[in-house]
């Protein structure tokens, strides 16, 4: 075995000098959350770096809804799931159809729609929230899950259409021509040729929309207000209403809430990184 030279050791040390602070910076808030989740209240509030008696009791309290702030935990969890999945499915349907129409069928005015969608992508979300709130009131959708689902679809689809259009522009035109020659109708072309070929991008976009809707706080907190209709992040925010909030339970619920998106992200990382970063910023 070759011994490392002094220079190599120096490089490695320099890299570690960057790597260790990066690791600490990244992990501290997450570790702190995890620490609270496994600490009894006294340990959590005593500023310990590891609890004297680690416990899973907090999780049991959350799962059994044994606290005032948690009395609707499961229904809120369920709300989050339903809204995220519906927004994901709806975005996927609308965006795939639009991208197919703009990119493959070259519908007249498609470019205009694409540019308008792109423009929407650049409206800061918190700015659109103000008029959106009023509009949902006008439509009579406030306090209805549909308001949040539709808001999420509105926010997710511009980017979805754009990424899908970029991806479908790369498919050869000959494919469509060959299929049409063989007598495929437009719908068959869509179903049997386009969708299967676009699968990786579709997975990326579906995941993107689901995560976006699952993570959304601002719109959820504006559009939904009844305890049995809100989503988990709004419920987490409501913990702050009291001065003596049970922070260890708040962090436990937050930890449970953060797990699914992290798991989904890592499970689909391969699609996400390829599909989203390539599309996010073209160099």
């Amino acid at each position: 075995m070759k011994l490392p030279t002094l220079r190599e050791i120096g490089t490695e040390a320099k890299l570690l000098l960057i790597g260790i602070p990066v690791f600490i910076w990244t992990m501290v808030p997450i570790y702190h959350m995890f620490l609270f989740a496994i600490s009894p209240k006294e340990d959590a509030f005593a500023g310990k770096l590891w609890p004297a008696h680690p416990t899973l009791n907090n999780f049991s309290i959350v799962f059994h809804q044994q606290h005032y702030f948690l009395r609707d935990f499961w229904i809120q969890f369920f709300n989050s799931v339903v809204i995220a999945l519906s927004a994901g499915a709806l975005t996927l349907m609308i965006a795939t159809a639009a991208a197919f129409s703009i990119s493959r069928l070259r519908v007249p005015g498609g470019r205009w729609v694409m540019n308008l969608a792109l423009l929407t992508y650049f409206i800061p979300a918190a700015f659109l929230a103000v008029p959106m709130y009023r509009t949902m009131g006008t439509y009579g959708l406030l306090n209805n899950h549909w308001s949040l689902i539709l808001a999420m679809v509105t926010i997710a689809s511009p980017y979805a259409i754009w990424v899908l259009k970029q991806a479908s522009d790369k498919l050869p035109v000959e494919l469509d021509e060959a299929a049409t020659m063989d007598g495929a109708t437009t719908l068959q072309l869509f179903r049997l040729v386009y969708v299967p070929l676009m699968m990786p991008s579709l997975v990326a976009i579906g995941t993107y929309a689901i995560l976006l809707a699952w993570n959304e706080y601002l719109y959820a907190f504006l559009l939904l207000s009844k305890d049995t209709e809100i989503t988990l992040p709004v419920a987490l925010g409501n913990f702050l209403a009291a001065d003596d909030s049970p922070w260890e339970l708040l962090m436990t619920t937050g930890f449970i809430y953060a797990l699914p998106p992290a798991a989904i992200y890592y499970a689909f990382k391969r699609y996400m990184v390829g599909g989203l970063t390539a599309g996010a910023v073209k160099s």
């Binding site: 890299l15 960057i18 790597g19 990066v22 690791f23 910076w25 990244t26 808030p29 702190h32 959350m33 509030f45 005593a46 500023g47 609308i94 965006a95 639009a98 129409s101 703009i102 069928l105 070259r106 007249p108 470019r111 729609v113 694409m114 540019n115 969608a117 423009l119 929407t120 409206i123 800061p124 979300a125 918190a126 700015f127 103000v130 008029p131 959106m132 009023r134 509009t135 808001a151 509105t154 259409i161 437009t186 706080y217 601002l218 987490l236 925010g237 913990f239 702050l240 962090m251 619920t253 937050g254 809430y257 953060a258 998106p261 992290a262 992200y265 996010a280 910023v281 073209k282 160099s283």
Partner: protein, 290 residues
């Protein structure tokens, strides 16, 4: 892929209805759902919002509201200082993560966590860490120095810096990842040639890395500025706009007015930001809709 803003329609000529083929009819049908969503949830709200913001009186009221002036300054600090620090760190770290080492690979998997997990629980976690009485930071300060730590979120400057810190914590991984893709696209031969010529680390950066990445870097910075204008969570969940409404940014201020049922003020405050947003948006549209 090659489309332009000016819309160079490939097919000029006779009225559309006369030339519509079956695929084009399908095209319209398939595009319709998005157009409906766009009309109902973008065009109508935006138009309605602008209509609400039409009274000059709203702007006079904003002008006399000290919270608005403070929020505007805070937003500028957030964007100009916060984003530039973030992007500089991202550029630096993109070089670090481009190194081929097993432990760096593993670190990069962890490094993406802040971006992969929702922001609410992690921001609240930071908020409690900064709690003057019970937070872990002040307890450690007390343990080691015997003195009480500062009341972090009670000082507007510190509180705003912390909000910027939380924002950086959350979105740094994303931009590092993007810049890293850009960095990996640079041909390795260039670096090898530079190595042979005895170029130093800084020369390699100055003459190879930066020239090939500057467009991407500027695009990312502008895009991040636009999105950060809409960053409600970092400020709202950490400081709630406090103390004494001194740490609001435009995103939280609009929502504050909305909660106080002053919708026209909320819209007017957003309209005030438009002169800054629109040039950025115009530039981004030109870059992205090629």
């Amino acid at each position: 892929m090659a489309i332009t803003l000016s819309g160079d329609h490939a097919i000029p000529g006779p009225p559309l209805s006369a030339r519509l083929t079956t695929p084009q009819v399908w095209g319209i049908v398939l595009l319709a759902p998005y157009i409906l969503v766009f009309l109902a949830f973008v065009v109508y709200p935006v138009g309605y919002g602008l209509w609400l913001a039409r009274h000059p009186a709203s702007y006079v009221a904003l002008w006399h509201d000290p919270i608005f002036a403070r929020a505007a300054v805070n937003t500028l600090i957030f964007l100009v200082i916060g984003i530039n620090i973030k992007m500089a760190i991202a550029l630096f770290l993109s070089g670090f993560f481009a190194q081929q080492r097993t432990w760096i690979k593993w670190l990069s998997v962890l490094f993406i966590l802040p971006w992969a997990v929702p922001s609410i629980p992690t921001i609240l976690s930071v908020r409690f860490m900064l709690n003057p009485e019970w937070g872990v930071i002040n307890q450690l300060i007390f343990k080691f120095t015997g003195e009480d730590g500062p009341n972090w979120l009670n000082d507007p400057t510190v509180a705003l810096s912390m909000a910027i810190g939380v924002h950086i914590w959350k979105s740094l991984p994303f931009w590092t990842l993007i810049l890293m893709t850009g960095r990996l696209a640079i041909s390795h031969d260039l670096y090898e040639a530079a190595e042979v010529d005895g170029a130093s680390w800084s020369q390699k950066f100055r003459y190879i890395t930066w020239p090939s990445m500057q467009t991407l870097y500027v695009t990312c910075t502008l895009l991040s500025m636009i999105w950060t204008l809409g960053d409600f969570n970092s400020v709202y969940l950490l400081t709630g706009g406090g103390p004494a409404d001194l740490t609001h940014v435009l995103a939280t201020l609009g929502i504050r007015y909305l909660r106080l049922d002053q919708l026209s003020l909320a819209m007017a405050s957003i309209v005030c930001a438009l002169p800054f947003v629109l040039p950025l948006v115009y530039f981004m549209m030109k870059r992205l809709s090629r």
